[in-house]
Amino acid sequence: MPLERVPLRSLGPTVVRRRLAGDGLLLETGPFVTRIRSRIASVAEGLASVYRDYPVHEPGAFHDFDCELRAPRTLRRFYHPQVLFLSDRRSVFKPLAYHQAYPMLEWGMNWCIASLVQHRLVLHAAALERGGRAVLLPAPPGSGKSTLCAALAHNGWRLLTDESVLLDLDAGTVSGPVRPVSLKNVSIDVIRGFCPDARLNAPVHDTLKGTVSHMSPPQASVERAGEVAEPAWVIFPQYRQGVPARLIERSPGECLTGLIDNAFNYAALGTRAFHGLGGLSERVRSFDFVYGDLDEAMDVFQRLADGR
């Protein structure tokens, strides 16, 4: 029997709030379905804003992850209220200030993929596809990865993920959960200016990462979320103000070590991961990429896609 799934936008705000407060909203993001429960208004508003094109499953259907956001049941709920993130009814982070409930949901969903997925090698990287070929962008926080990813997603590249690349070790293909892109601080206004069509939710201030806002992927990326891609490039980005865009080639060995450093479950998957990443490093072209201007960066990626 086919799964019954409808776009979140078709439910309307009342049904979304009712499901979140009841048995849960079952949200499909790429290969995963997450059950989300919360009575917090900003969670419902955030989901309705950035996930409006995403499929939602009928209550009671199978789900991969179980997430709940709620206030701690202590007197703190009256004085400087806080919010807890629970996965499978277990609190996994320290509580945050109540107004950070929505970004905490996004971080919690990232945690679920990084901690619970073992059937794929999970890389901390962005990935985008063009013409069936994928570019992987592994990088630590603060490197300009998400800004670059958001700009590419609005300039001819299909977004696979901003955060968690899923590598199929048997097929060698990559996919992603096609979740919203997390933008921080000055990147929020940079992307608003660079991609006027981008849909961003209301910024949340004073988080551990500063001010954060989430950008919805373009609708075409959401609709093609089930399509895998062949990795063709692994590019390690680094934003440096005022620096001309430049690619510096990495050897396959240097590519391999960079990928290992950005893998969540490399040790758990052992020799399969070693040979999988080793093979990937030999098949792709790999570069370090420094950039200080998004227009220049778009030109570099255009030339890569064109084979120049």
């Binding site: 396959p252 070590t257 960079g258 070693f274 040979h275």
Partner: protein, 79 residues
Amino acid sequence: MHLRPCGEQWAAFHTGTGDTHLLDPVAGAILQCLQENGPLVLAQLSDCLEWNAADAGILAEWLAALQHNRLIRERTECL
């Protein structure tokens, strides 16, 4: 230990610790030779690498260096 070529280098995965090392081409070839042939036999090793007798001294030096991990570059040093 799992070994695989990686471009011009070799990568070694230590199954006990889960660590991965990048090896110089020569170190990789020596380790592969050891894996295939068991105990270290200098003549056999030299033969495996297709080196002539004149290179035996260099080979000995490389082996000594290998014993002190000088040829094995920790991946953190490559970043």
